[in-house]
């Protein structure tokens, strides 16, 4: 285990020395972040998509303290309670990400799925699994608008009555941050 800094406003940060389970049940949103290999592609000014995403996710955690359960996914999904996302690597296992979010969604939390790619599993399987999030799942596509993943994510969001936005991190990082902020506000209502 690497000793990492704890991001301000992350679940671990607001827990200090207490029981982290209590902080988790008081969170409002599960943010599922794609950390597959494609996120290393250069997006803007010599910076990769994942670096831009990292900065924004950290800022949002700082603004919405203790409200976000951060989950990273690539070959598998795992929570990042300290608020740091791992280096991108491997595939895009959206099924595992959705499974990870399920118990939190059952507690009434909203789910935001952020990705720049298509799932490693069949699209039909992912859409089917997502049906348990009806009215609770929103998506943000962070790759180029013309990518095949953009269309898939739109269909996924539509199938669960959620919203979908396309915010190319290379072109519109600000838009991504604004969109995320809107979804956080929506979850707080």
């Amino acid at each position: 285990m690497n000793t990492q800094s704890i991001v301000k406003g992350s679940i671990q940060d607001i827990t200090k020395s207490g029981d982290i389970a209590i902080s988790i049940i008081n969170a409002k949103v599960v943010v599922l972040c794609d950390r597959s290999g494609s996120m290393v592609s250069e997006a803007r000014g010599g910076r990769a998509s994942y670096e831009i995403e990292d900065d924004i996710i950290k800022r949002i955690q700082g603004r919405y303290q203790g409200q976000i359960i951060l989950v990273a996914f690539n070959d598998v999904a795992f929570t990042c309670l300290h608020g740091n996302l791992p280096m991108p690597n491997g595939n895009t296992n959206m099924l595992d990400a959705l499974d990870k979010a399920q118990p939190f969604a059952d507690m009434g939390m909203r789910v935001i799925l952020i990705t720049d790619g298509q799932p490693s599993h069949s699209e039909g399987e992912v859409i089917q699994r997502a049906q348990q999030f009806k009215g609770k799942l929103d998506t943000i596509f962070v790759g180029p608008e013309m990518s095949p993943g953009a269309d898939f994510l739109k269909r996924l969001a539509n199938s669960v009555n959620g919203s979908n936005s396309i915010c190319d991190l290379g072109k519109e990082p600000k838009l991504f941050e604004e969109r995320l902020e809107i979804l956080m506000l929506k979850a707080g209502k």
Partner: protein
């Protein structure tokens, strides 16, 4: 790489001195006993006030059935993640494991030295394709 080992903080169950499948009656009884022991009016120990606050918070949580259910689910998730991390560490320490690329096993992820590679890395999940994301 440093390993940071921190003792787990006590759970709400630990604070009230009850087991995790305690009934609501057990919770009320434990709370009454703890209040008599740690209420600042009856206990002059400087730590008593903090203990009393912890006991009250634990009681508030566990006596609310819906909140307790959520709490129990989260505790299970955290235990599972701890177990996954342990398996991951054991796997990493296996001298027969080569150190390149990324892979997955039993619900855990492996990252090697923060190297951003791993396209087409072998995933043990049979249903996942190994194509580019």
């Amino acid at each position: 790489m440093e390993v940071e080992i921190k003792p787990s903080p006590p759970s709400a169950y630990d604070i009230l001195g009850i087991v995790s499948n305690a009934t609501q009656d057990d919770i009320h009884t434990a709370y009454r006993i703890m209040v008599r022991r740690y209420h600042p009016d009856v206990n002059s120990d400087p730590d008593a006030k903090d203990l009393f606050i912890s006991v009250t918070e634990a009681y508030k949580l566990l006596s609310d059935i819906a909140q307790r259910r959520k709490y129990d689910v989260v505790r299970k998730i955290l235990q599972q993640e701890k177990q996954d991390e342990k398996e991951r560490d054991q796997y990493m320490n296996n001298p027969f494991v080569s150190g390149s690329g990324g892979f997955a096993f039993s619900g855990s992820a492996i990252f090697y030295g923060n190297v951003p590679f791993g396209y087409g890395a072998p995933a043990m999940n049979q249903s996942a394709s190994s194509s580019m994301p």
